[in-house]
């Protein structure tokens, strides 16, 4: 019994770490710091997956953890780093909403997720319930990041963070097949490649990555 309690506490701790990393992402004002925080979040995610693999005795989750570790904590941040350096991007985070307000909105979203998930999953185990609430908060924070940041790189990071939330939800529910996670991971990689190519193209054409400048060039605009 005590063993189960400790497993739960640790799972909870790691999940909360992922969520905290989500808040940190919102708080950062420098692009490299955003990337580092993202790498940290992915690391925490890998830890969460590994811990779930341990307590659920589900060896395939180790693969998930490995994928998260390699792709999301290493390849993606390094690639984005490289891109930012290559393109010589302005390294400030340009916000559409002040950071204080963004944090408040984030807190409200977490409260909403808890309000929503806890009653719905009344029959599930405590571990699943908590993890689902955390995962949903991470997803909503990722979305919030996408809409409150102007720069294309930060939007990509927001998208990846959202995706981290999805994986967190997937690993904490029992019986999720591995193929889902692998396909999600690969789609992220593909998305990453595409974004990279687009960054180059946008940059070549318009000499900036601020999306607002892109709007004026839309062909269908009247």
């Amino acid at each position: 019994m005590a063993n189960a309690q400790i497993s739960y506490d640790i799972a909870h701790l790691i999940g909360a770490t992922v969520l905290m990393a989500g808040f940190q992402l919102l708080y950062q004002r420098r692009l490299f710091a955003v990337l580092n925080t993202f790498a940290f979040q992915a690391l925490a995610l890998a830890a969460a997956a590994a811990w779930q693999a341990h307590i659920q005795h589900a060896p395939h989750l180790y693969v998930t953890a490995a994928i998260a570790l390699v792709f999301k904590a290493m390849i993606v941040p390094i690639a984005l780093h490289w891109l930012v350096e290559q393109l010589g991007i302005h390294r400030n985070v340009e916000t559409a909403m002040s950071i204080g307000w963004t944090m408040m909105a984030g807190v409200a979203l977490v409260a909403l997720s808890i309000l929503l998930v806890l009653p719905v999953t009344a029959n599930a185990t405590a571990l699943t319930r908590e993890s689902l609430a955390l995962a949903m908060s991470v997803v909503l924070l990722g979305l919030l990041m996408m809409i409150t940041r102007r720069n294309a790189v930060t939007q990509v990071v927001g998208f990846m963070a959202l995706e981290n939330g999805l994986i967190l939800a997937a690993v904490s529910a029992k019986g999720m097949p591995l193929v889902v996670e692998i396909s999600v991971a690969f789609s992220v990689l593909v998305a990453m490649t595409l974004f990279g190519i687009f960054f180059f193209r946008i940059r070549e054409r318009f000499d900036t990555l601020d999306l607002a400048d892109l709007e004026t060039h839309r062909g269908d605009r009247q």
Partner: protein
Amino acid sequence: MLIAAALSALLALAVLGVAAGAEMWRHRLIYFCCMIASLVLLAGGIKHLGQTPGTGPAIVLPIGLPWLAAHFRLDNLSALFMVVVNLAAAATSAYGIGYCSHLPEPRRVTPFYPLFLFGMNAVLIADDAFMFLVAWEFMSLASWLLVLADHKNAENRHAAFVYLVMACFGTFCLLTCFGLMAGGEGAYSFPAMRAAKLDGVSGFLVVLLALLGAGSKAGLVPLHAWLPLAHPAAPSHVSALMSGVMTKVALYGLIRILFDLHGEVNWAWGAVMMVIGGITAVMGVLYAILQDDLKKLLAYSTVENIGVVMIGLGLAIAFKGSGEKTLAALALVAGLYHIVNHSIFKTLWFLSAGAVITATGERDLGKLGGLAKRMPWNGVAALVGALAIAALPPLNGFVSEWLIFQSLFKGPSLPHWAMKFGVPVVGAMLALAAALAAACFVRAYGIAFLGRPRSQAAAEAHQVPASMRLTVAFLAVMCVVLGAIPVTVTDALSHVVTPLTGVQFAVSADLGWPWLSPVSSTRGSYSGTVLVMTGLGLCAVTLMLARLLGTSRLRRADAWDCGHKEDIPQSQYTGQSFSQPLRRVFCASIFAARESVDMPDPGDNRPAELKVRVIDPIWVGLYATIGRAVDFIADLVNRIQYLTVRRYLLMMFTTLVLMLLVVAVRQNQ
């Protein structure tokens, strides 16, 4: 079986119509086959009406939605409407044999004409909501294509657009109506709907939606706007079908829902329908009087007649809802009788209008005149039709309007005070409409067929082909026949009415054939048969006396020239001058009709003109307002089209969070 064969034949004819090409004899052959198919369907309907306990066998075909086979059944109500539809359809098809060569582009008409007939017949025999709506749309779209037949005219394109919008609106209402009746389990077959009980709110909505859906097709004010645009735009034999028959199919839908499927409609709806019917009748005929275009005049007259039928149907609902089943049956018989009559005389008049257009190329009353002499067949037939529309005895129009009045006179026996006082008001509106309709057709017939030709085209009018003359003659004979044997008709109609009102009823019960005595043997009775016989007898006696006592010497003299020495056709009454008194009295307030004299400046030698301005209150007040509102909303929505990616994401995010909030709040309650 024969009915199924005839319907399949109509579908096949539509395909052949595409292949007809430019050879005119093929078009004629197709119209001839349509006529045969219509006659077969007509015979099927009459045969079914003849058998008293009448529900035909249900036929189930494995077509349509996968879990819902297509159900068909012919019962008394469908059989009656099948007779109505196919009598007119046989006439218009026969007319088409001669008329098709006068159309500008017969290839744009021939393929869709059988489809239109098929759609109308399929609506009548459908026994589930799905087939009903499919057939209904079939009918709408086929007639829409026929309205577009002369698509090079911008006015016709506008008419077709308005028609399409209104048809979509109507079908949408009917779809929702049937959805409500089918309930949660989706019981779309009519027997299941009959068995189902509707609760208060959905019962209310079903009646409302049925009135909107079927009413927009039938042309009830204020949903009539498309009708006077679309009906005249089609070729004349199609106009005849749309005006004389398609509006009846719409009323069939209404009767089917309100009397059969719904079953327990509140009496107050009867009051609503009567008021709508009264307004429709009066507005329709006032519009009709103002028209100079012959076909538009006829289309507005259709609106008026639909109003008259609606008064009968509304009264039947009010009686039925108050438990007066015999009176409900009487009012329903009266309404159905008027449906039958209107389908005949309106078809007759539209076909005559088609003949006039073929002969002269004009449909403006101001350019016609004197046609009775040059087109004697059409002249006589149109006169009979005009007398029937004006509800003069012994013709059929009189019988049905008289029956409606008889049932209106029993209105005070309703228990509700609103109805006791309201029914006479509707009766007054009906009387006004009937009188104005007579004036309207005196004007239409007098200006178009009598007097002297007002244009070169009218002076050179020629006879139309035999098939076009014979059909109008046939319809004129039908007007007389249906007026002369009213008891036979009402007996057939009471078979139809019995299952709808749940009471055995015969209008001729008290005095027996050939007397109609709807209320009691002493309160009012009428016999068209006796009247016709007496009239013929008196004519014979008069002729004999004239022969015996008068002189047989032929004497020729000038007609009275109203004091005008010169032979100027312009000195006659015109359509405008005929309607001027009525326009001044009735239309000054409703249509804001104003006259002004456009006087040229001194030195300018153009003639002075009398200008008339008429504003359609419903188009300006309702349709134009809706159009502006749609434009306004479209402008607002248009702004959303050019946002940044971030804003789109923000919208999605906000929607998501709002929905999550709703879920959170609801589950915490």
